[in-house]
């Protein structure tokens, strides 16, 4: 019964549902890292203004779903006045689950700097975090084959 309940809850979560994105502030990434301590994860930054993101996000999520031990943390680099659009676009892209995070305010360069001082704001921007949370940054649409190889490697690691 308990197992059934869990299955029902999981399947319920595996469909886009309307919810505002969680506000991503200067402390959020540190919190995410604490929560995912010792685990590999992908930090995927996108924006409602970024056309390539629209093609990338569903593909990245679909791919990552096959490696459930490696979470993908989606963060929209869009300020609060755009969070309604973030939510709508998330649903339009048929993304699973709630729409991740979005920038908590419009002092964008400060939020960007906190994530990575060497990131200029180009989107999509993806960080592949190993289990020890050293990360590799990629600007632009990710290569799905390379991403799959990375996912496979970090999932297989002890």
């Amino acid at each position: 019964m308990k197992r059934l309940l869990v299955a029902v809850l999981l399947s319920a979560s595996a469909a886009a549902f309307a919810a505002p994105p969680r506000p991503f502030d200067e402390a959020s990434l540190a919190g995410i890292r604490r929560q995912l301590d010792g685990r590999p994860f992908i930090l995927a930054l996108w924006s409602i203004h970024c056309a390539p993101c629209r093609e990338e996000l569903p593909r990245l999520q679909a791919l990552a779903r096959r490696y459930p031990t490696v979470p993908v943390v989606f963060v929209a680099a869009d300020p609060p006045e755009a969070h309604g659009d973030v939510e709508r676009l998330w649903q339009a892209m048929a993304m699973d689950g709630p729409p991740g995070w979005a920038f908590a305010h419009d002092y964008l360069e400060r939020l960007r700097f906190r994530i990575d001082p060497d990131w200029f704001g180009e989107l999509p921007r993806t960080y592949f975090h190993a289990a020890d949370h050293t990360s590799r940054a990629h600007s632009g649409v990710v290569d799905l084959q390379q991403t799959e190889a990375w996912l496979s490697a970090v999932s297989a690691a002890p």
Partner: protein, 390 residues
């Protein structure tokens, strides 16, 4: 710094801003986006436009931006206005003193929009109802408007347009990036000729630079997508005689990227006919903002701006004096930085900081009036902030 702060607060009060830093008429608890522009009229009065919810608002200053007073709404009827990132409302004066304001109106679907313009016979007079510049009315991308006035008085509006991408996809074909389109008005904004394509395969999300030139044409500079995905800059001449000059490459940073940099160039012509430009690249090993003069084979006298994290540079020129301004975030605060050349961009002085803020800000723009340089920088802590250079 304290004086600056007091000055800022006074300025904020003068344009009707609450001491909290909320621009006027914010509504719904949301802060208006920070895209704003300013221009001097022929009498040395400074005018600015910024977005406030679903209105573009006009402000005026008789003291070079030290104090401002509201000068009304540009659009009487509310409509969405793009004013974040490389989007902002813009204003130009034509030779007869008419004021023209352009902006991008986002439509309901993501990435779609229309280029809007409203004109007033004199600043302070009522604006015409806004009109859409282009004849193409598909709900697709027409965004990132740029506006200028050619030496002959023609009004030129240019933008990023995806009609050719949409048409190619309908035929099952691929299309790299978007396109640059433009439209010309020869009657002071009363009507626009049908829009024309200037270039195929532009980047999708960076502002376009338009520089009126001595020959009566307009030189455009924009971030392009060179095959297969190199997001360097291209340039072309908008011929006001109806004859455009072919697209050529302007920068060679080799920034290969399938992404939106949201970081467009600026360009101006000096009295001798030289075109001065600033642009940004994230190409590995070359990351940064650059100055250069546009020659026949691309940029010459190229100089990397001295700050590693220089962003959103702009420039103005008078005679041989070139002034650059840009933003730099140092981890704590955003600084407004400037740099000057006295010899047309061959040699440069020391960069120095004009202002610093720990609040959100838009992009800086360099203005020149009666031989003096000013930097306009709209920020939460200094609405319509304007600094006069020594």
């Amino acid at each position: 710094m304290v004086i600056r702060r007091l000055f800022t607060m006074a300025l904020a009060l003068l344009i009707g801003t609450h001491a909290s830093g909320q621009p006027p008429h914010a509504g719904h608890g949301q802060r208006p986006a920070l895209g704003a522009s300013a221009a001097f009229d022929a009498n040395g009065r400074l005018w600015a436009v910024h977005s406030d919810g679903e209105h573009v608002r006009l402000s005026a200053s008789d003291d070079h931006g030290r104090t401002w007073h509201p000068a009304g709404k540009v659009n009487a009827e509310p409509e969405p206005i793009a004013a974040s990132g490389d989007n902002r409302p813009k204003l130009v004066f034509d030779p007869s003193g008419r004021l023209h304001v352009s902006w991008t109106r986002p439509l309901a679907k993501p990435y779609t929009g229309e280029i809007r313009i409203a004109s007033a016979t004199t600043p302070g007079a009522a604006f015409s109802p806004p009109r859409t510049v282009h004849r193409d009315r598909q709900a697709i991308t027409h965004r990132f408007d740029a506006i200028t006035v050619a030496r002959g008085g023609e009004l030129v509006v240019s933008w990023i347009d995806k009609r050719d991408l949409v048409a190619a996809r309908a035929k099952g074909e691929e299309y790299r990036g978007a396109a640059i389109y433009y439209a010309v008005s020869r009657d002071g904004g009363g009507s626009f000729e049908p829009e024309r394509a200037l270039a195929a395969h532009s980047c999708e999300c960076c502002r376009i630079a338009l520089a009126p030139t001595r020959d009566g044409n307009v030189q455009a500079l924009w971030r392009h997508v060179f095959d297969p995905n190199v997001r360097d800059h291209a340039t072309a001449t908008i011929g006001l005689d109806g004859r455009d000059r072919p697209v050529r490459r302007a920068t060679r940073d080799e920034w290969a990227l399938d992404a939106c940099p949201h970081h467009g160039p600026s360009m101006v012509e000096d009295r001798a006919g030289r075109l001065h430009a600033v642009w940004f690249t994230g190409a590995p090993g070359r990351e940064g903002a650059y100055y250069g003069r546009l020659g026949a084979d691309g940029m010459e006298a190229v100089m990397r701006l001295p700050d590693a994290r220089a962003a959103h540079a702009d420039l103005a020129v008078r005679d041989d004096v070139v002034v650059l301004a840009w933003k730099r975030f140092d981890g704590q605060a955003t600084e407004l930085r400037t740099l000057r050349s006295q010899d047309g961009g061959d040699n440069w002085g020391e960069a120095h900081s004009l202002a610093r803020t720990t609040g959100a800000s838009g992009q800086p723009f360099v203005l020149v009036e009666a031989g003096r340089f000013h930097v306009f920088w709209h920020g939460r802590e200094f609405p319509l902030g304007t600094w006069r250079l020594p």
